[in-house]
């Protein structure tokens, strides 16, 4: 089967795998920034553990991406080269996950909006026609289920908490809402791979995502933002200014000492 796949299909698959990898990778880096700064020791550890899951998932996707790249390029890059030696214009993560941590409410809101999508995406991908994608997704989906239980819990605790926490959670949701549309808008690469039975059709995730998010908002006494302009760009490498700063910190060691390992 592999031999009959044209080079352009492998290139599309490589790009798609970068998308699957880069969102958990960038979010893991954001969560890592919280280490030592959590509001309570338990939350500090929980946040780091979620980040660790996401980092592990990103490594699996990047490893596979490198194998696919080797099929049409001179050589495939390994997971470290892909993570540490690409510039922001070559990152394919969602704009949502690169947004700064802000307050704990901002971080919890970002996590919840992402988790609600991620768990649906991975569940869908566990039925992918590509067995390697299905295998990684089935494993990651189980982890993502724990993530959304926790992040939804925080949206409710803060939304239905004090006046101050409610105000902050509502403001966080309002500010991040413009980055959620991108999650459900496939581009040409995705459409090609959806037709091939490889990629998840993200359009089909919009309605179950909306239902779940609205149910949690209701329990959290939060108001779902009205339909608004949705930012796009992550899938083609057009990022907000925040990603470059994040990568500068994440990549500094490999940029300064290329190939360093321990």
């Amino acid at each position: 089967m592999t031999a009959s796949i044209p080079a352009t299909r492998n290139e599309a698959l490589f790009q798609y795998l970068l998308r699957l990898a880069d969102s958990p990778l960038v979010l893991a880096q954001r969560l890592g920034e919280w280490i030592g700064h959590g509001p309570a020791l338990e939350e500090d550890i929980a946040q780091a553990n979620v980040g660790l899951d996401l980092l592990g998932q990103a490594r699996l996707w990047l490893g596979l991406a490198g194998e696919v790249e080797a099929r049409y390029a001179l050589a495939g890059r390994d997971e470290d080269q892909l993570a540490f030696l690409r510039d922001s214009a070559d990152f394919r993560n969602l704009l949502l996950v690169e947004q700064p941590n802000g307050s704990f409410a901002d971080t919890a809101a970002r996590q919840f909006l992402f988790d609600a999508w991620h768990v649906l995406l991975l569940s869908e991908l566990s039925r992918s026609g590509d067995a390697r994608i299905a295998g990684i997704a089935a494993k990651a989906a189980k982890e993502a289920t724990y993530h959304i239980e926790r992040s939804a819990d925080w949206v409710i605790r803060l939304g239905d908490g004090t006046d101050e926490s409610h105000m902050r959670m509502q403001a966080a949701i309002d500010a991040l809402w413009t980055y959620t549309g991108e999650m459900f808008t496939p581009d040409a690469i995705e459409l090609e791979l959806i037709d091939a039975g490889v990629a998840a059709d993200v359009r089909s995730l919009a309605e179950p995502w909306r239902r779940h998010v609205h149910a949690v908002f209701e329990e959290a006494t939060l108001t779902a933002p009205a339909e608004a302009f949705m930012q796009q760009g992550g899938k083609r490498g057009v990022h907000t200014e925040h990603l470059g700063h994040l990568l500068a910190e994440m990549q500094v060691l490999q940029r300064s000492y290329q190939g360093a390992h321990w």
């Binding site: 609600a116 089935a138 189980k142 724990y146 959304i148 926790r150």
Partner: protein, 197 residues
């Protein structure tokens, strides 16, 4: 991804034609059964369901192939476990060996043996409660609407120290991603709970 042969029997048959000096598959199982999990040293990686198979390489019958599966994608112990297996087997005379990682089917706490569960409890970690349903194809059908946003756990997790079932969840992520953090309301001791996965 190659699908590994899975042989969970502890008395795996010896390869035919094995010479007297050459260690057998049964020897390999015995050696690996001594390899402990780095974070839970009282439990072996066989009891945790991390070891998925041991066989001779089809293309190179002199070479041993050990298949392991990671618990969680980001588990930092995974690489250490592979290194421990390699070290133990090399010491035991298995000079040619390869360690493969198998991702599918995904690891589940259902694979932790009854003996492993007992040892977890003795170590102060409440073993996973109940079974996780996994489809035979490995596909996961997650009902997002069914995921409880509040941590309304219906299962009463027994304290591994005093066996009281009056316990409360402190955090869904404890000392490692695979464990939740609980507190016993009777003996007041905090403890880890190995989450069903």
């Amino acid at each position: 991804m190659s699908v590994a042969l899975v042989n969970l029997s502890n008395d795996a048959p010896e390869a035919t034609g094995a010479s007297a000096v050459r260690p057998s598959l049964a020897d390999a199982w015995r050696v690996i059964s001594e390899v402990a999990d780095p974070e839970i040293p009282s439990v072996s990686i066989i009891e945790l369901g991390i070891l998925r198979g041991v066989r001779w390489d089809v293309d190179d019958p002199e070479s041993l192939v050990v298949t392991v599966t990671p618990t969680y994608s980001g588990c930092p112990a995974t690489e250490m476990i592979a290194a421990s297996i390699r070290s133990a087997l090399t010491t035991a005379g298995f000079d040619l060996l390869r360690i493969e990682t198998s991702l599918a089917p995904a690891w589940t706490t259902d694979w932790i043996t009854p003996e492993g569960r007992r040892k977890l409890r003795d170590f102060g970690i409440a073993p996973p409660d109940g079974a996780k349903a996994v489809t035979s194809t490995g596909a996961v059908a997650i009902d997002v609407a069914g995921i409880s946003p509040l941590r309304r756990s219906t299962a009463a997790i027994a304290c591994p120290r005093c066996t009281s079932k009056r316990t409360e969840l402190l955090s869904q992520f404890g000392s490692a991603a695979c464990k939740a953090h609980y507190r016993c309301l009777d003996c007041l001791e905090p403890f880890d709970y190995f989450k069903p996965h």
